[in-house]
């Protein structure tokens, strides 16, 4: 960590063995939580937080890798969830295949969209993402014959999925562990991407796309791939949601869900790999605590977003890191 300014994105020092140890410990601790917690209610909340954490991570990843703000990631999430529901309802294929389909389709959609609108300036892109969410949401509401409309679709999951009894995906005790581990795996995968050659190229493209082209890089495909990766992560969250909830309704496509995921990412710190997930945890914690105290949850969130964006751009996660670094620096003396 250098003292002035933010640490350069490149030349991340490879994490030390100690850091990896701590991370592994944190992940294991999370996984070990259920037996320790008596409350199913808390575990339910944590499971939802973990799934939201994955969705928030997808939005944060796009912002981090491409520098664009998306208000429409619920689209990939919701499409994945609906695909599982529809596949099973109409018995198009085995449930396992449906899961694969639910992951592939949003990813491909994101890639194609990314290629098509690659020359669209950042702000217009953000506006577009809001419109996407709306379009799919309205379709889900209005096309009752297909989607069940506002009533939604119940998902009649098979007794077993990928060899595991379906209860594993639905009981909070096991669902939380599954979602938590998936979250950790997703973050780790994004870490590997960030440190790969591809990651460095996308960083450069984010910083100055034109110059990246002039030093020899093709920029259209990498940018579309970033959107695809981000869409895949959102789809993963959507799949977990569908399996856990066994029910989908148009809410999974609403822009407010996208907005919440975005806010979680910003509050947690979008530049950090684990920032958005951290933001999701904080979000759920505060919502649970404050939800009963105030009716003005939405205004509170809005104000928090404004404050964090302007005053604390590194987010709570980033601030935490700086705090720890300062403490360690002080202790070293």
């Amino acid at each position: 960590m250098d003292s002035g300014g933010a640490t350069p994105m490149t030349h991340h020092a490879a994490l030390s063995w100690r850091a990896w140890g701590l991370i592994a410990l944190a992940v294991a601790a999370g996984a070990a939580l259920p037996p320790l917690l008596a409350s199913t209610l808390v575990l339910t909340l944590l499971t939802q937080a973990a799934i939201s954490g994955i969705l928030a991570t997808s939005v944060g990843a796009l912002l981090r890798m491409s520098g664009v703000v998306s208000f429409g990631h619920a689209t990939f999430y919701g499409i994945a969830a609906y695909l599982i529901a529809l596949s099973i309802k109409h018995q198009w294929m085995a449930a396992e295949a449906a899961v694969v389909l639910a992951l592939v389709v949003p990813t491909v959609l994101a890639f194609v969209l990314g290629l098509g609108i690659v020359r669209v300036p950042g702000m217009a892109f953000s506006m577009l993402t809001l419109a996407i969410g709306q379009a799919f949401h309205e379709f889900a509401v209005k096309a009752r014959a297909v989607s069940g409309g506002d009533d939604g679709l119940a998902i009649a999951l098979p007794p077993e999925l990928f060899g595991l009894p379906i209860a594993v995906f639905q009981r909070p005790h096991s669902a939380f562990v599954l979602c938590w581990l998936t979250l950790a795996a997703v973050i780790f995968a994004l870490y590997r991407v960030a440190h790969s050659r591809f990651g460095r190229i996308t960083e450069a493209i984010r910083e100055n796309e034109e110059r990246a082209r002039f030093i020899g890089y093709e920029t259209d495909v990498p940018r579309a791939l970033v959107l695809a990766i981000s869409g895949l992560v959102a789809a993963i969250a959507g799949v977990l949601f569908a399996l856990y909830n066994a029910f989908v309704s148009p809410e999974v496509l609403h822009w407010s869900l996208s907005g919440s995921a975005l806010i979680m990412a910003i509050i947690g710190g979008p530049r950090l790999l684990w920032g958005p997930a951290f933001g999701a945890m904080v979000f759920f914690l505060v919502k649970d605590l404050a939800g009963n105290l105030t009716e003005h949850w939405q205004a509170l969130i809005g104000l928090t977003l404004i404050v964090v964006t302007v005053l604390l751009p590194v987010g709570l996660g980033g601030s935490l890191i700086r705090l720890l670094a300062a403490l360690r620096g002080g202790a070293a003396r």
């Binding site: 250098d2 002035g4 300014g5 933010a6 350069p8 994105m9 490149t10 030349h11 050659r197 460095r200 190229i201 960083e203 450069a204 910083e207 100055n208 034109e210 110059r211 990246a212 082209r213 002039f214 030093i215 020899g216 890089y217 093709e218």
Partner: protein
């Protein structure tokens, strides 16, 4: 052997011709200066040669005898044509060495250390581009073009905003690089000290056309050039 050649290069914006039928030929190993008043078309010429003008430009561009007119920006770079920018065009949040390494990943000759050393950026290696001084960023902009030992360098006002001392030091570096690497340079500059000190020949542009061409001494003596341009800046 002409390192870079342009035939009938034209760039129109609606009815206005920023570049109007320009022919230019720079032999290998030469440092060619490109001067002219504002609006003469110097940056546009660099844009057309480097492929930045896209479909708005017409004419033929040849690199070491090879027709590169149809090639995109990236492909021209791979063919050995690199450029720097008038308005500094670096990667703000990447470190100096980090962005040079990214450039090197695409190059055949990854000469990051050599370039950093050559341009005095070694001490700034780990600093973010956004945090270094303007002059240092200018040199970084140039350094990015030098990665991979390109055959032809198009430089758009590399000394812009630099102090006199910095400008002359830069000029020395360029002269040095040309003799060591055998690279050909086309240099747009307003700083006449730099131009006259290192350029072998000079092309003068005026209103999108070539006004004159010759050695520094020859060009200095042409009355039209003096009145059109040198008179106002001398």
């Amino acid at each position: 052997m002409m390192a870079i050649q342009g035939h009938a290069l034209t760039r129109r914006y609606g009815g206005f011709a920023a570049l109007d039928g320009v022919d230019i030929a720079v032999p290998a190993g030469e440092i060619r200066g490109l001067i002219g008043p504002n609006g003469a078309g110097k940056s546009t010429l660099i844009d057309v040669l480097s492929g930045r003008a896209g479909k708005g430009a017409s004419g033929r561009v040849e690199l070491h005898g090879r027709d590169i007119s149809a090639l995109g920006v990236q492909q021209r770079r791979h063919a050995g044509l690199a450029r720097s920018f008038q308005r500094t065009h670096v990667f703000p949040e990447l470190s100096v060495v980090g962005q040079l390494e990214v450039a090197a990943m695409k190059a055949e000759a990854p000469n990051v250390d050599e370039v950093m050393h050559e341009l005095g950026l070694g001490a700034l290696a780990l600093r973010r581009a956004a945090d270094i001084s303007y002059g240092d960023r200018r040199r970084l902009d140039l350094a990015l073009a030098l990665i991979g030992k390109p055959k032809v360098l198009l430089l758009d006002e590399p000394a812009a905003g630099l102090s006199m001392g910095e400008s002359l030091a830069l000029a020395e570096h360029l002269k040095d690089l040309v003799s060591r690497w055998g690279v050909t340079v086309l240099l747009v500059e307003h700083d006449m000290e730099v131009v006259f000190s290192i350029c072998h020949r000079i092309t003068v542009l005026h209103l999108g056309k070539v006004l004159a061409e010759g050695t520094p001494a020859e060009v200095r003596a042409i009355p039209e050039v003096v009145t059109a341009y040198l008179g106002s800046t001398a």
